[in-house]
């Protein structure tokens, strides 16, 4: 099952602290949405409002067109996968996964068939009798996913589900998560602070900061054509280009930026002569620090192809391409 989600002018106050400030978002049915932002930006608060664990100070939540504000978590077509997984430690994996169906009054035989199906989906059917503490972190994460999906939610909410895993496992789980989402077709709303994770799995990224939406769109748009300076910085490294060099956006309050991979020997903006001060090897590219010749010259970070590296101290002419003009963050 799947449904669209619509958030209308959501505000959330905690005492005098404004956790969410006028959030308006629309998610399509079956979309994989990632809420991205630094800790404290309000992304988890927004997820809890969607799940029904928190009633917003004002605003509306619609799922599949139905107003959810007066609906308790258990009656919402959402399930949440918690950051600490909250697997019930005294129950076997099968009982954990079958819990939601048990609460819906399904008999043991039926719900165990469904639980085994779900465990099979996440590749843990052979461990159905085990207790959660016998599993590794990645396996627990899969059980939590199976448990949340077993009740066939229209929207699945994931609160930093990969945060506790080490980097390699995280990258692997991202792919699995995406594959499972494609298979079940449920709308996924996934919270993370890892922008690489966001780009790897999202159909749409929502960048948040200080309780506001900074940017929203497909990963390519958010990365290559960010709407704000904050969003641009959060998605990756950024070089600031002095306003005089480019003739983009004549307004004085705009900043011209370019990603390190868009700095190099060619491009439409001439940055001037620069000296290579240091470089490090990253497998597929060299990360180079250049400084414009002359007093107080500006620094640039460039990612150059591995076969195209100047010598240390060598002076080259630097160009920038695909630069974007950004407003200062509001």
């Amino acid at each position: 099952m799947t449904a669209d989600v619509s958030l209308k002018s959501i505000h959330q106050m905690f005492g005098s602290f404004q956790a969410l400030d006028d959030i308006n978002l629309e998610f399509g049915a079956g979309e994989f949405v990632v809420l991205l932002g630094p800790s404290g930006c309000g992304k988890s608060t927004l997820l809890f409002i969607l799940g029904g664990f928190l009633t917003p100070t004002s605003g509306e939540v619609l799922i599949g067109g139905a107003n959810m504000l007066q609906v308790a978590p258990k009656d919402r077509p959402t399930t949440t996968m918690f950051q600490d997984y909250a697997l019930f430690p005294h129950m076997s994996l099968r009982d954990n996964v079958a819990f939601g169906l048990r609460m819906r009054g399904q008999n043991k035989g039926q719900r165990n068939i469904r639980a085994d199906e779900m465990l099979d989906l996440v590749g843990l059917l052979d461990k159905a009798h085990h207790k959660p503490h016998e599993l590794s972190g990645g396996q627990r994460q899969r059980v939590a996913l199976a448990r949340a999906l077993a009740v066939d939610p229209e929207v699945l909410l994931l609160d930093e589900p990969l945060g506790a895993l080490d980097l390699k496992l995280r990258r692997q789980m991202q792919e699995e998560l995406k594959a499972i989402q494609r298979k079940v077709g449920t709308t996924f709303v996934h919270v993370t602070h890892d922008q690489e994770e966001a780009m790897a799995i999202a159909d749409r990224i929502v960048v948040m900061n200080h309780g506001k939406v900074e940017d929203a769109g497909p990963p390519e748009d958010v990365y290559l054509r960010p709407k704000t300076l904050f969003s641009a910085n959060f998605m990756g490294d950024l070089n600031t280009i002095p306003a005089g060099l480019a003739n983009k956006g004549s307004e004085a309050d705009r900043i011209i930026c370019a990603r390190p991979e868009n700095i190099g020997h060619k491009g439409e903006i001439n940055l001037g002569n620069a000296v290579l001060e240091s470089s490090s090897f990253f497998g597929t590219y060299h990360r180079c620090h250049f400084r414009i010749s002359g007093k107080g010259g500006q620094e640039y970070v460039a990612h150059l192809p591995v076969d195209d590296l100047p010598k240390l101290g060598e002076e080259v002419q630097l160009f920038a391409s695909n630069a974007v003009a950004l407003e200062h963050s509001s």
Binding site: P73, K74, F82, Q83, D84, H90, F99, R147, V151
Partner: protein, 284 residues
């Protein structure tokens, strides 16, 4: 000698004094007591006979055997009532009281711990006596016409014990409850569980370690306590500790007192065996 061996020897040196102390003043006395329980008294003389005469006597003489029954009954009643009273209190403090006042609430809930144990039993004697506050109050509101006897009954002993152990259990259950992630209850509710099912299937099983730790402590302390039954329960029915003190005081019958102590010890061991799977003592 390798560095590991040196380390081990040094560590052993650190542990040795504590081990020696425990052996000399706990294990050895306990062994001596077990041996003594196999002796008997002739006149005022202790004769070692290595037989089970004392134990036989305990199980055949009604006045002694009744002590075991009375002690077990009181202890079980106290443990059950205390758990039933303490769990809701711990839960209310952990979930309903605002976080910044929780520490205060818990400190208040255990404040009477800081009265002396003897004085606490004495205070209940003041409250429960014929002329005490409780009777005066009940008669004042017209609930009773004349005072009823609570002091020197099992009821008084149970009230005194429950008072102490409600505080203790509130502490153990509360510290268990606040360690639980709030996400357990959220997850259960999210998956469709009603409040009652969330409690029955998730929260209660998760607090079993806290309940069992507290219940075991209650059992050990309650069944071995002399003060509360002596001050509040009087001499109508004697618990095992009262019987032990009676053997020591009246006749200096150390062998019989030892035999009763060994049985007390066995009961505690049984209680441990019954609750061990929930206790976290092996982690200590």
């Amino acid at each position: 000698m390798s560095i590991e061996q040196q380390e081990k020897r040094r560590a052993l040196g650190f542990v040795a004094p504590a081990l020696l102390w425990t052996c000399a003043f706990f294990l050895v006395p306990f062994a001596v007591m077990v041996l003594l329980s196999l002796a008997h008294l002739e006149g005022r003389e202790i004769i070692q006979s290595y037989d089970l005469g004392n134990y036989l006597k305990i199980f055949t003489e009604p006045s002694l055997f009744k002590g075991i029954v009375v002690s077990l009954e009181i202890t079980l009643i106290v443990t059950i009532i205390s758990v039933l009273l303490a769990w809701p209190l711990a839960w209310i403090i952990a979930t309903q009281v605002p976080e910044k006042y929780q520490r205060l609430a818990i400190m208040l809930a255990v404040l009477p711990f800081w009265t002396s144990y003897v004085v606490r039993s004495y205070s209940w004697a003041l409250v429960l006596g014929q002329q005490g506050v409780l009777m005066q109050m009940l008669m004042g509101i017209g609930f009773l016409d004349e005072p009823i006897q609570i002091m020197a009954t099992r009821g008084a002993t149970v009230i005194g014990f429950v008072h102490f152990f409600v505080m203790l259990l509130t502490l153990t259950i509360y510290s268990n409850l606040i360690q639980l992630s709030p996400n357990y209850a959220r997850a259960a509710a999210d998956l469709g569980a009603s409040g009652w099912n969330t409690f029955r299937l998730v929260i209660l099983p998760l607090t079993l370690p806290g309940i069992m730790t507290g219940a075991f402590l209650t059992f050990v302390l309650c069944i071995g306590d002399y003060i509360t039954p002596q001050i509040l329960g009087g001499n109508n029915e004697l618990t095992m500790p009262q019987l032990i003190m009676l053997q020591l005081g009246r006749r200096g019958d150390f062998p019989m007192a030892s035999a009763l102590s060994v049985i007390l010890m066995l009961l505690v061991t049984l209680a441990y065996a019954a609750t061990a799977r929930w206790l976290k003592m092996e982690r200590v």
